[in-house]
Symmetry: C2
Subunit: 162 residues, 2 copies
């Protein structure tokens, strides 16, 4: 089981976009350059994020992407569900309905215990991801990254966003 790379990129992108002024937007190519990832592939994920209402797209010249909501209103879970989907990692194939214990279909009224156990695990996983917002990540970054690096990044963004 492995989470798509796009998820990681998506969260990083949101954190970067959170540092922009409210009216500014950043082109997909610039975001790719900033993170050192393939531009064409990142663009695909950005479109998905825009479709999910996490990002907002600014069309035309000097356009690009920006956050659709304040950073504090976007959770890591929002990004995960936009890119990776909302369905649980575990998929019950109802194998209990096969073999000698099989019963008429109407008997299977509630999911089996195994299914329920994985559903609970998936629930707490998502709940934990929903606790962290983009704003939280940004605050953490300000603590962890040295001042010199922050200023370097700020300059780069100012030039790129124009």
């Amino acid at each position: 089981m492995r989470l798509s790379d796009g998820v990681e990129w998506g969260v990083h992108v949101c954190v970067v976009l959170a540092t922009l002024p409210d009216d500014a937007a950043l082109a997909a190519a610039k975001l790719a350059e900033y993170h050192g990832v393939p531009a064409a592939y990142l663009a695909k994920h950005l479109q998905v994020l825009a479709g999910a209402g996490v990002l907002r797209t600014v069309k035309g010249a000097r356009g690009g992407y920006r956050l659709a909501r304040p950073p504090a209103d976007i959770t890591v879970l929002d990004v995960v569900e936009a890119i990776d989907g909302e369905e649980s990692a575990f998929r019950c194939s109802e194998i209990r309905r096969r073999g000698p214990l099989a019963m008429p279909a109407r008997e299977y009224t509630k999911p089996c215990g195994i299914h329920r156990a994985f559903s609970r695990a998936d629930e707490v996983w998502r709940a934990e991801l929903a606790k962290t917002t983009i704003a939280d990540l940004l605050i953490g970054l300000l603590h962890d990254v040295p001042r010199t690096a922050l200023e370097k990044g700020a300059r780069w963004l100012q030039e790129s966003a124009r």
Copy 2:
């Protein structure tokens, strides 16, 4: 992100094996027939489970598989980690080290906030799966499945285990 089918099969297999007498074993082919899954493929997962110490293999004629420990000492997480591996679904590719914010490698002393958020989520996911044991699932099954089906299953197992 999707969990391997083998995980589901593995848990079901453990529940079935938990109903066997202590000295009995069940052949891989019989387990496959019971669950209606491809025998050769299930065998692969059974071998992995045996290697991980969840199942115990009985070689030779009239051999097969049985649980390596009491059902109450085997958690769903044990099966998941045996088949799917112990590593988190999220893999940090350290993209923060690329791009204009990049710093000397020695500066990166602790994982980034995004990495930490996903690690926490992975932790609670595993903790939740560790709460449910094979014994719990078996008890749940006895409540959910009608008596007639249980007896049918018991007869089939008695004939197959010999």
